[in-house]
């Protein structure tokens, strides 16, 4: 995080709506990609992102150390996304959005096909397994930081990541094999 962002956070804490808007601009992909990685559904990820920024606006004043903002934001996003998943027992129609469905009919593109396989395999993991993968691969968090964000012991982070990766590989092998 750079000095400019720290300044934005300080101003937003003092109630500057303009600074808050710029903060949203700078971190909207951070939040959206995290939510999408956990939910694998674009419209749900959008709704969750909006909810996250509303929560941030409401509770930013409680953030003591501005430098911890990214971890704090990741924690809020993860909690909101997982709560969302638990609340919406009725899952939305398809695991794939329209652009992805369109590419289904064009299996010549190997890269697109590989991404579809990955998506399907990730969909078969639990939201908690996807969460550790997102925190690790997207945000590059260390195990200590992940444990802090998720409120679980480091050992649990380690085993959950191992299990998530092992299952993902099994699902991918299954898809490629059959």
């Amino acid at each position: 995080m750079n000095e400019a962002d720290l300044d934005l956070i300080r101003k937003a804490k003092r109630g500057h709506l303009d600074a808050f808007t710029r903060l949203v601009h700078n971190y909207q992909n951070f939040v959206y990609r995290t939510a999408y990685g956990i939910l694998r559904q674009p419209t749900d990820a959008e709704d969750v992102s909006q909810e996250v920024f509303l929560k941030v606006h409401q509770s930013l004043k409680q953030l003591r150390d501005e430098r911890t903002f990214p971890t704090w934001l990741a924690r809020i996003t993860v909690r909101t996304a997982i709560d969302w998943k638990q609340r919406s027992s009725n899952q939305r129609a398809g695991p794939l959005d329209e652009t992805r469905l369109a590419t289904l009919h064009d299996p010549r593109d190997a890269a697109v096909h590989a991404r579809l396989e990955l998506h399907e395999a990730l969909m078969r993991l639990t939201p908690l397994q996807r969460t550790v993968l997102v925190l690790r691969e997207l945000h590059g968090l260390g195990y200590e930081e992940m444990a802090e964000v998720l409120g679980i012991p480091v050992g649990t982070v380690r085993s959950r990541l191992h299990n998530a990766r092992a299952q993902l590989r099994a699902h991918l092998d299954e898809e490629r094999g059959g």
Binding site: L17, T21, V24, H25, Q28, N29, V31, Y32, R33, Y36, G37, P42, A45, E46, S49, Q50, F53, L54, H57, A114, R115, L118, H119, L122, L133, V134, R136, E137, L138, G142, Y143, R158, L161, H162, R165, A166, L168, R169, L172
Partner: protein
């Protein structure tokens, strides 16, 4: 190290989350075991694929707008709620004041005094409107003198009580 011991550790090894001694052992194993090396490469490949997949999705351009709108809306709702509470309190106060004046003895006294005061006010206005301007000025001057005398008297009384005390 056996394959069965190495394989479960590859995930943490990839993340750089194993102790130095363990890392050296795993590295040594990977140089001569094709099976574990294949698993490790698959892990690296999948990690990169997940990262690329997540980086390829982008938030809709309207997100910041949506957030701002929601904040403004919530602010309005909160303000409307507060206003409703203030109104409710005012109405409640008014109603209880009315009940109080109609039911209790003190209330009835206040009620009667208010009516007396209003009647006096009314008759003064009537007197002033029926009498001419000269009378009005006369009455006002008289009132002024009376008020002045009262203040003068009051100040004297206060001063004398200060002296005696």
């Amino acid at each position: 190290m056996e394959c069965t011991a190495v394989e479960p550790r590859l995930s943490a090894y990839m993340d750089g989350e194993v102790a130095d001694a363990e890392r050296i052992e795993i590295e040594a194993h990977l140089t001569h075991c094709d099976g574990c090396a294949a698993v490790y490469h698959a892990l690296l490949h999948e990690a990169a694929a997940i990262r690329a997949d997540l980086l390829s999705v982008n938030v809709p351009s309207t997100m910041a707008e949506r957030v701002l709108q929601a904040i403004v809306e919530r602010h309005r709702t909160v303000q409307a709620k507060r206003l409703a509470v203030v109104y409710a309190v005012c109405v409640l106060a008014l109603v209880s004041a009315m009940v109080w004046t109609l039911t209790t003895a003190v209330g009835r006294f206040v009620h009667a005094s208010t009516r007396l005061f209003l009647a006096a006010l009314h008759s003064t206005v009537l007197f002033l409107s029926t009498s001419g301007a000269a009378w009005t000025i006369g009455v006002m001057v008289l009132c002024g003198v009376l008020a002045g005398l009262s203040i003068f008297g009051a100040v004297r009384i206060l001063r004398s009580s200060e002296v005696t005390a």
